[in-house]
């Protein structure tokens, strides 16, 4: 069809060549990290390091997962999983509830709450770190999952999204529920939530990645290495001073740190793209 615009031939292959070059350049850092995670420290500290994988894959990953540098990486993976799931599920649940209240009820102070929640749109935790840290410290929540999760679920993006979606749900459904004598919570659980499942899934993908990739917050509030998340734990593996870093283990940890979100993005590409587009609207 677009043969009229571009004839096949040289330009067609140049297009592919350009794209393949782009893909290779973008892949290179990850490839190199993977190679480094399969060779020995000796191979790395005498540059140039090899560009093809070695035979230390099992040894390096075992060492990272079981021993790590400050704490076993298996622990950090678990912590990251709890944090990412907690943030994703927590945000979705409180946002579903509050969007339901705002859209389906008329009550005094409704608009006030609406604006209070929406004022928080877009305000990253990075901007208010010191006071938020003090709040968490005051509650004794340092080095706890609650401390890792709670401050990061205070955001309105998800509420806004569900509100927009609920507004498009036909009124007849609520009407029918009322006629049938179903209470608001029945309507919410049996009709509204099942109808929102695609939105929920798309949002879950985005929030999971957001939670998994947090860096500054866990850096501040987890002083105990066994509470470190994997993304922030990598930096802690570098020795202070002039000692040589344990590169194979660090690179194996980097690969492990990017694996879950990458699997989510590739495995749920459609939902991921939808979530990305939705959450930026």
């Amino acid at each position: 069809m677009s043969g009229m615009v571009e004839r096949r031939g040289v330009s067609h292959w140049l297009t592919h060549a350009g794209l393949i070059l782009g893909v290779l350049v973008i892949f290179f850092p990850i490839w190199l990290a993977f190679v480094a995670s399969t060779v020995s420290q000796q191979d790395i500290v005498r540059p140039p390091m090899p560009l093809l994988p070695g035979d230390q894959f099992y040894e390096n990953y075992r060492r990272a997962l079981v021993a790590g540098v400050n704490a076993p990486v298996a622990w950090m993976l678990f912590n990251s999983m709890v944090m990412a799931m907690g943030i994703a599920i927590g945000k979705i649940v409180i946002s579903l509830l509050s969007a339901f209240a705002i859209v389906y009820f008329r009550f005094p102070g409704r608009m006030l709450f609406f604006w209070l929640i929406f004022l928080t749109l877009m305000l990253p935790v990075e901007v208010r770190i010191v006071p938020t840290y003090e709040v968490i410290a005051g509650f004794g929540m340092l080095n706890s999952y609650t401390g890792l999760i709670l401050p990061l679920i205070a955001s309105a993006t998800a509420t806004f999204l569900f509100r927009q979606f609920f507004l498009t749900v036909p009124d007849e459904l609520a009407e029918a529920a009322r006629v049938d004598g179903a209470g608001p919570m029945r309507f919410f659980v049996d009709i509204l939530v099942p109808m929102s499942r695609t939105n929920i899934a798309a949002l879950f993908v985005i929030l999971f990645i957001y939670g998994w990739n947090q860096y500054l917050w866990p850096l501040l509030i987890t002083t105990d290495p066994s509470m470190n998340t994997i993304v922030m734990g990598i930096r802690q593996m570098f020795p202070s001073g002039d000692d040589l870093a344990d590169w194979p283990v660090i690179m194996a940890t980097s690969i492990l740190a990017m694996l879950p979100p990458v699997i989510v993005v590739i495995g749920m590409q459609k939902l991921f793209i939808r979530g990305l587009v939705d959450s930026e609207k």
């Binding site: 540059p47 209240a101 005094p108 990017m258 990458v262 993005v265 590409q269």
Partner: protein, 293 residues
């Protein structure tokens, strides 16, 4: 927009709102209020009492050479990240859009660096450019170039810009490709029949039609560069050398947690709140414009 059909009750909706309102109040409004309050005081050297200084912290900040330098650093950094990541993404998206088949495959291959955390991206790039063992450093050395971002300010800035742009290319690529594919083929074919070459078509038709996407990405990428690149800076340079890569968000952290200068850090938070406010307004303006189209 309002619902015609609603449910009765006052306590139930308040109960439904409670979790979000509570979390927002405790972890958003209270800390933000604290930041504003603390920005008006300086603690004594022993941290025992606070002395009210009014806008003194702000005056001090704007008179401070390092803080003003941090503004300039942030500007250079954000503009560079935005231009580099959007430029490369647009180039790749235009190529992918030219394909009749297979653009989906390239999309799959290109989007997933988005999932890599900025801090992990920092570690990957640090590894390649490590002054002692980095592969790229070694090959540059063979070419006679002595790479040392630990000492050289421009190289440090270049490295954090590239590391921050890298994952962002995926995101921008996705939106550019969607934008390009939304342009009706017939418009482009008509121009082609009229004999317009690729570059002319791009300049006169594609680029103007793409401008809403471009504008949106511009704002989003600046927000990203401002606030979400802390991990990259912290892993690669730690703000150095000589504060050459200390962006504003990094300085809030460095002054508040490392330097323990709470008043100054709080004042910086307030200034950042202000910056976020402006960016939000710009973004909302954009949304309005999109709705009116």
């Amino acid at each position: 927009m309002e619902k015609r059909v609603t449910f009765k009750g006052i306590w139930l909706p308040l109960l439904l709102l409670a979790p979000q309102v509570l979390v927002t109040a405790v972890f958003f409004f209270y800390p933000a209020g604290q930041a504003i309050w603390q920005s008006l005081f300086i603690p004594d050297p022993f941290g025992l009492s606070m002395q009210f200084v009014g806008l003194g912290n702000f005056e001090y900040l704007f008179g401070n050479r390092f803080y003003r330098a941090s503004f300039v650093t942030t500007a250079i950094f954000s503009v560079s990240v935005t231009v580099v990541s959007m430029g490369i993404a647009l180039y790749l998206a235009v190529l992918a859009d030219r394909l009749i088949k297979g653009s989906g495959t390239y999309r799959t291959l290109l989007i997933w660096p988005y999932a890599v955390a900025p801090a992990v991206a920092g570690v990957l790039w640090l590894f390649m450019f490590n002054t002692r063992i980095g592969v790229v450093t070694w090959y540059l050395g063979q070419l006679g170039y002595d790479w040392n971002h630990v000492l050289n300010e421009a190289e440090a800035m270049g490295l954090v810009v590239v590391a921050s742009s890298w994952g962002r290319i995926s995101y921008n690529f996705l939106f550019f490709l969607a934008g390009l594919q939304a342009i009706p083929r017939s418009v482009i074919e008509a121009a082609a029949i009229d004999g317009a070459r690729f570059w002319t078509r791009f300049r006169t038709i594609v680029w103007p039609l793409l401008s809403p996407v471009t504008f949106f990405l511009l704002v989003v990428n600046i927000v990203y560069a401002f606030f979400e690149t802390f991990g990259v800076i912290h892993t690669i340079t730690g703000g150095g050398p000589q504060q050459a890569t200390t962006i504003l968000v990094y300085k809030v952290y460095a002054d508040g947690f490392v330097g323990q200068d709470l008043g100054s850090s709080a004042a910086q938070s307030v200034i950042l709140l202000f910056v976020v406010g402006i960016l939000t307004v710009i973004q909302f303006k954009y949304i309005e414009r999109k709705v009116h189209y």
